[in-house]
Amino acid sequence: MVPIAYYLVLSAILFSIGVAAFLIKRNIITVFMSIELMLNAVNLTFVAFTRHWSQVTGHLQVSGQIFVFFVMVVAAAEAAVGLAIIIAVFRARNTLNVDQIDLMKL
């Protein structure tokens, strides 16, 4: 049996990588992928805790797993909309560099 701390540390590492990639990378596709990475880090935490609490209480706990499904659905929807926006932006501005897409300021 793997202790829960291992899962949590892995999840934290994944999330940190996601945050770092989000901050560093300029290509909007890569930024998008780093968001997916952060979401999946969270998903890992959910399933880890579900398993942990099932063992502690002795009953099967499913709410965390159900939440993961929700996150996946939302992530899928987000990916669909987000990619559509990316394509539209690319057509309009002919670039994928986020530093050049800064119209939404005062």
């Binding site: 901050l23 300029r26 530093d99 800064d102 119209l103 300021k105 005062l106």
Partner: protein
């Protein structure tokens, strides 16, 4: 079973006329406009006459409640109208004289621009005046009270392109507001003490408390008097009425002679229950009235503008009505109100006819010898002049004599009031016959006047004086002409009323039965009861004395302005200082200007405008605005539009939050 008289229709029909003419009249042809306005004045008159014929079957006072207006806590006010004998008298005057003046206006205003505007305002005036008269509580009366002030303002400023007219309108409005503050304060005290503003309830609760004497009743009465002095042009607030002559002449006749300015007298008579309990307030009314009567009469003697003479005469006659109310002879006051409405409306309309025939000339020094040229105007004016001067048996004699008689038999100041009133009657007779002679007798002085004044000023005097906006050149081409019959008809009717109107109240001392006093007796019975000091012989003697005084006034005017026309100039040269004092209206306007208007303007302009408004309020606003702008400019830098900078801020503060919770800082700051 009390029949439903649909009293609400009486004021609302003119209001509908106002709406139709005011909204659609601009494009309508003049006959349509005048038809709408005349119908708006005729229907109330017919309805009032219907009430007159059914009056015997009414249970009095007849109150019609149209619904709740204000209901808050213990205080309650209704839209309610009432009819009793006093109201009916006023209704007859307002609708009857009002209708006649509407008819007259059709002729008088025929060539004016803004014809529709004039008739819309006239109907608006009728609406508010009828509301004032019919109101069953102080609050609804106040609505009418303010509304007639509004209509008066609009009509004085009818020739709004003329600076003096616009100023006169404003002056009337502002001076009236001073009086209205008194009315408002009186209502506040009434609410505080009675919890209601309904006439019937207030008077009922006063009559059940005979121990209430003076005190807060005096306060209410004095504040009401302040309101009345504003509306009825008494000292100290009379100054607006002479200037109000800037309006068209029918307006002067309707609003500033026959109806609106008598509202103060009506109000005092209506609330006489209050005044009866406050001898002090009554004395104030009497003294104000008496002082105003003689003060305005002396000014009227030295005026040269025909309408201004009549304006001061109106102020003076209103003083008589106040005098009557002040000696608790409300019936006499209302009677003089009625007869005055006849002869003063007639005087104004006839003066308007003179002005019309002279194409806008108002200065009596340019008149003279008009007797043959405008005979109908002359004869009707003659009836009015004799009536107001107090020649028996005309209307003015009967009512003025009644007032003087009541003053004479009144206790206290009575004899002094009578003496001053009698002297004023002589002055009245003098200045009215002065007007009569200067206008209608002797040679026509138009050319001499033109020569004397035209060259000095470089512009024709009457061109500046002319109240007509349009057709000036065409007007001057007209020779002197009699007015059309649409104007003369009302003159003739009013002349007949001025001659026979007095018989309504022919006093008992002269063999009559004073039907008018008996009619009003149920409403205006005073607690003091009929004075016992009088007798028929005394009344007869006093009538002879006042007739004698009137004849004296006529004789002096005849001497000075007909027999020896050079006499006035010599006479005024001898008493130059007194004459200039009177001719300049005792400098009252200038004194008010220096003592009140200038300081108020100074405070408004420098203290309130520069310091408070522009300094504190505007300055505070600017400080708030600029500081918000500067702060925003700094904070706006955060919104760079760059996604990665947003994410950086987010990550930074999320990290700080994590660190804070890790080191337990949260407990110290937020969780207590």
């Amino acid at each position: 079973m009390n029949p439903d008289l649909h009293l609400w229709l009486i004021p609302l029909v003119p209001f509908a006329g106002f709406l139709v003419n005011g909204l659609l009249g601009r494009r309508a042809p003049k006959p349509v406009v005048s038809a709408v306005a005349l119908i708006g004045a005729l229907i109330p008159m017919l309805q009032v006459s219907a009430i007159v014929f059914n009056f015997k079957s009414l249970a009095l006072p007849h109150i019609e409640n149209l619904g709740t207006w204000i209901s808050t806590g213990a205080f309650h006010a209704d839209f309610s109208f009432s009819v009793d004998q006093l109201t009916l008298v006023m209704l007859c005057i307002v609708t009857g004289v009002g209708f006649l003046i509407h008819v007259y206006s059709v002729g008088y205003m025929a060539e004016e621009e803004g014809y529709w505007r004039f008739f819309a305002y006239m109907n608006l005036f009728l609406f508010f005046m009828l509301t004032l008269v019919l109101a069953e509580n102080f609050l609804l009366m106040f609505v009418g009270w303010e509304g007639v002030g509004l209509a008066s303002y609009l009509l004085i400023g009818f020739y709004y392109t003329k600076d003096s007219a616009a100023r006169a309108g404003r002056k009337a409005f502002i001076v009236n507001r001073i009086g209205d503050v008194g009315f408002l304060l009186a209502m506040f005290i009434l609410i505080a003490n009675f919890g209601t503003l309904s006439f019937s309830q207030v008077f009922a609760s006063i009559s059940t408390h005979p121990e209430w004497q003076g005190g807060f009743l005096t306060a209410i009465a004095l504040f009401l008097v302040l309101g009345a002095t504003g509306k009825s042009a008494q000292i100290p607030l009379y100054v607006w009425l002479p200037d109000a002559m800037e309006g068209p002449t029918p307006v002067s006749a309707l609003i500033h002679a026959a109806t609106m300015v008598t509202a103060g007298v009506y109000m005092i008579a209506r609330t006489h229950v209050l005044f009866d309990r406050s001898p002090y307030a009554l004395a104030v009314v009497a003294v104000i009235g008496c002082a105003t009567a003689i003060f305005a009469a002396t000014i009227g003697m030295a005026q040269t503008d025909i309408k201004r003479v009549l304006a001061y005469s109106t102020v003076s006659q209103l003083g008589y009505m106040f005098l009557a109310c002040g000696v608790a002879a409300y019936t006499a006051g209302i009677f003089h109100l009625v007869t005055h409405a006849f002869f003063k409306a007639l005087l104004f309309l006839a003066a308007g006819s003179v002005i019309h025939s002279l194409s806008g000339q108002q200065d009596m020094r340019a008149m003279g010898g008009l007797r043959k040229k405008i005979p109908v105007t002359f004869w009707t004016m003659t009836a009015a002049v004799f009536a107001i001067s107090g020649f028996p048996p005309l209307a003015g004699f009967v009512s003025k004599d009644e007032i003087l008689y009541q003053a004479f038999i009144a206790p206290g100041l009575g004899k002094i009031l009578w003496a001053v009133g009698l002297f004023t009657a002589g002055l009245t007779s003098f200045y009215m016959f002065r007007l009569w002679y200067m206008t209608f007798f002797g040679e026509n002085r138009a050319d001499a006047y033109e020569a004397a004044f035209h060259d000095d000023h470089g512009a024709p005097v009457h061109a500046r004086k002319d109240t007509k906006l349009t057709l000036e050149a065409e007007h001057h081409a007209h020779p002197v002409h009699e007015s059309p019959w649409v104007m003369l008809g009302p003159l003739v009717i009013l002349a007949i009323l001025s001659v026979i109107g007095g018989f309504m109240g022919w006093p008992e001392g002269l063999g009559g039965s004073n039907w008018f006093a008996q009619w009003l007796h149920p409403v205006l019975t005073t607690a003091a009861g009929e004075s016992s000091a009088g007798s028929k012989q005394l009344e007869l003697i006093l009538a002879c004395v006042s007739t004698l005084v009137a004849v004296t006034g006529w004789f002096v005017a005849h001497l000075m302005y007909y027999a020896k026309p050079e006499l006035p100039a010599r006479f005024t040269a001898q008493i130059r200082s007194v004459y200039s004092l009177v001719a300049n209206k005792y400098w009252v306007d200038e004194i008010y200007g220096a003592l009140i208007v200038t300081p108020v303007l100074f405070i408004a302009r420098y203290l309130l405008n520069v310091l408070i408004d522009r300094g504190v309020i505007d300055g505070g606003g600017l400080v708030a605005g600029y500081s918000a702008q500067g702060f925003g400019a700094i904070v706006a830098r955060i919104q760079s539009g760059n996604i990665r900078s947003y994410a950086g801020w987010l990550a930074l503060f999320a990290g700080l939050l994590l660190a804070a919770s890790y080191f337990g800082w949260t407990a110290h700051f937020w969780v207590r």
